[in-house]
């Protein structure tokens, strides 16, 4: 049984290297028949550039999603902390009956924006 498995494994390895060789020969032929010049690129080069662009796009997309999620979390944390702080300050005002100037227009708009 083991011999059979080894034999199969060898066959797969041979098939794999044959496929690589065929691919190499095809690309070599296209490159020789259609060398890259200044303005023109051969199909094989373009194909490789296309797949490179796609994987770069995917990498950037994943990176962007990570950064965007992180930002949302921090903003939520900021809003929560700010609200807690304001609530505590209001409690302090009641405790100490400190007369505070009414919030300026700017402060009101800022609070509204945050809400």
């Amino acid at each position: 049984m083991e011999a059979e498995v080894d034999k199969l494994e060898l066959m797969f390895q041979k098939a794999d290297s044959d496929l690589d060789y065929i691919q190499y020969r095809l690309e070599y032929e296209i490159k020789t028949n259609h060398p890259d010049s200044a303005g023109e690129k051969n199909p094989v080069t373009l194909l490789k550039e296309l797949s490179a662009i796609k994987s770069r796009y995917q990498t950037l997309c994943d990176h962007y999603k990570r950064v965007a999620t992180e930002q949302k979390e921090i903003k939520t944390r900021i809003s929560t902390t700010l609200n807690k702080t304001m609530t505590r300050i209001q409690e302090l005002q009641k405790l100490t009956d400190v007369e505070l100037l009414p919030p300026t227009e700017e402060e009101k708009t800022a609070t509204e924006q945050l809400k």
Binding site: Y57, A68, K75, I78, E106, Q113, L114
Partner: protein, 32 residues
């Protein structure tokens, strides 16, 4: 299609950046 996707995401990222800048300003205003 890929070109459009990249454009859409780029515009979205730029909008989010502006929104975050506004958020930072508003928070700093409230902290005063």
């Amino acid at each position: 299609a890929l070109k459009d996707d990249v454009n859409i995401l780029h515009d979205k990222a730029r909008l989010e950046s502006q929104e975050s800048i506004g958020f930072i300003k508003a928070t700093k205003e409230s902290m005063k």
